[in-house]
Amino acid sequence: MSIQLIDVTKTYRIGTIEVAALRGVSLEIAAGELVAIMGPSGSGKSTLMNILGCLDVPTSGSYRLDGEEVARLKDDQLAKVRSRKIGFVFQQFNLLARTPAVEQVELPMLYAGARDRRARALAALEAVGLSDRARHKPTELSGGQQQRVAIARALVNEPSIILADEPTGALDTRTSAEIMAIFQRLNRERGLTVIFVTHEPDIAFHTRRIIHLRDGVITSDEAVAESEWRRADDPAVTAAVLA
């Protein structure tokens, strides 16, 4: 079991008012799953993503990541977990300015103290089909290419999970399909666990399982029916999009 949340709550204190963002979330996600977490704004899905990504810790409850309890870790311990086990892909790409693609991808390895950084970074860029753009800086890349650099950065440390927060939110339809195709392929070929946080049903139907969140609790958790499931690099879909 890759991820195991047991009765996780998160309460924020804004002045004297306490706001419960998560009110008892229990959840299991196995290695190799492709999952979408959906919900309207204010549903607590960003909070859940922050906790799943070890950017934040729950107020109460347990979070086991690869069997290791991470709910009570301190800042630097969380950083270490992020560096080894988690890859992020953001809506706004979040690449470093003025930095060549290959160095963006080397960054997580730098903080993890990994060896052969250059070779592994180039291999990761190859996996997202960007080996010919390794020396390009973000301003010299299209949105889709930037997001592919971000994906390469997320997977280069071979994390247990990749968290994708609205990864196609800033992209056009066609580029979105390209990005989703990459995620699906990486999931299929490498068994990568990917969790999407999105409010677009279209993206969610590219995954195998959709978890709905509302007011800090899970309202539904269902597998995607085979009839609804979409394959991003389906030639028929691609043709439809192009037409």
Partner: protein, 420 residues
């Protein structure tokens, strides 16, 4: 480490104007330290060389003693107490290589229809070697001339130039008068080698006459006991190691000879002069350095200011780095390296500019005092001041970088990622 320096250089290169302005504070500070300290060092080196040019292992005995009365230190009246016989007795001491008494007074010299006011030093033949005053042309004063109270004179370089601007003074006659009296004719037998002027006064602006002649014809003072007086006894000691012993031996000898319990003379060594001067020059150099150091601190505050702005501006970058696994220490190091790179780069440029200033300053001509030939102001850029400036600028970067870097490292990754 090399990658963090590269990251720092990239971040700094992203805003070149701002980086340059940030560095400017350090550049000005360091170049001021380097240039000002080079002046202090140069003056020190120059005067040290001059004190050493007086001769080696010298002691100077002068009449009068430093008295300490109720904490008030003063030189007692310089009543004439030293005599030629004292000098001879000192010369007979075992550690004394030579003893050269002198008696000086101001005098008006006339020759060629030109006149010149200068200092007349009555000397013995030993003076030439003890005080390291060789002649450039002609001869130094001889034993026979001393014994015969001859009216002969060795001119200092400046005097020779003033009185004989376009001719060989050897064999010429100069008229010398002291205190407005008629004066006597002296035959020029030599011209002393020029030593250069500055710091301790112009030793080239003097003339040398046998001390017996001064006593007999120009200027006579007598001690309380009626013996002819000398103004200073220059003593050359055989080696530096016996300096202190010799000082006390001379003290004993003179107290016995003068039949006094308390010193009526003062013994100073060349080293005393050097020490005193080095102390003054050291304080002076330190003062200049400290004034310049203030601008280094100001420069450091400039670095801190810009780093704080930079941390705010790059909040999102910090968030990204933290999201991909950077620990506090990684972020701290990154910003510290950046601050140090700015300050060290500024320091290096400052050292270069400061050295340039020092070179420019050394081209400035200062007029020689007392009519001596003009000389250049000396500057010396010491390796120590370069090293000091370098490390101080690195330390300034480190010190003023710590606060902004700590702030950066403590940023919450979620908020940092959300920052616009």
């Amino acid at each position: 480490m090399s990658s963090s320096i590269r990251v720092a250089l990239r971040a700094l290169g992203a805003n070149k104007l701002r980086t340059t302005l940030t560095m400017l504070g350090i550049i000005i500070g360091v170049s001021a330290v380097i240039a000002l300290m080079s002046i202090g060092r140069g003056a020190q080196a120059q005067v040290t060389a001059q004190i050493q040019s007086l001769g080696t292992n010298l002691l100077f005995i002068r009449p009068g003693a430093v008295r300490d009365q109720g904490g008030v230190r003063s030189t007692a009246t310089q009543a004439p107490t030293l005599t030629l016989e004292d000098s001879d007795a000192v010369a007979a001491l075992p550690n004394v290589a030579a003893s050269a008494p002198e008696l000086d007074t101001g005098a008006q010299l006339l020759a060629n229809g030109l006149n010149w006011n200068t200092r007349v030093i009555g000397v013995t033949p030993e003076y030439g070697t003890v005080r390291n005053t060789p002649v450039a042309t002609g001869d130094w004063i001889s034993r026979a001339e001393l014994d015969g109270r001859s009216s002969v004179v060795v001119l200092g370089d400046t005097v020779a130039q003033q009185l004989f601007p376009d001719g060989d003074p050897i064999g010429q006659t100069v008229r010398m008068s002291v205190g407005g009296r008629t004066g006597n004719n002296f035959r020029v037998i030599g011209v002393a080698q020029a030593k250069g002027a500055s710091g301790l006064g112009n030793t080239d602006d003097t003339v040398y006459v046998p001390i017996t002649t001064v006593m007999a014809r120009l200027f006579a003072q007598r001690t309380a006991r009626g013996a002819p007086n000398v103004s200073t006894i220059n003593v050359q000691v055989t080696s530096e190691s016996v300096m202190d012993d010799t000082v006390s031996q001379i003290g004993d000898l003179l107290r016995t000879r003068h039949k006094v319990a308390q010193d009526d003379f003062t013994i100073q060594s060349q080293q005393d002069f050097l020490n005193t001067f080095n102390q003054i020059a050291g304080t002076f150099t330190l003062l200049l350095g400290a004034i310049a150091g203030i601008s280094l601190v100001v420069g450091g505050i400039g670095i801190m200011n810009i780093m704080l702005v930079s941390v705010t501006e790059r909040t999102r970058e910090i968030g990204i780095r933290k999201a991909v696994g950077a620990r506090r220490r990684d972020i701290l190091t990154q910003f510290l390296v950046e601050a140090i790179v700015v300050s060290v780069l500024g320091g290096a440029i400052g050292i270069a500019i400061g050295a340039g200033f020092a070179a420019a300053i050394s081209q400035i001509q200062v007029p020689g005092n007392g009519g001596g030939s003009p000389s250049n102001l000396q500057t010396q850029v010491g390796l120590d001041s370069v090293a000091l400036a370098f490390f101080v600028s690195a330390a300034v970067g480190l010190f003023f970088g710590i606060y902004p870097a700590t702030r950066a490292s403590r940023l919450n990754p979620i908020e940092a990622l959300r920052y616009e």
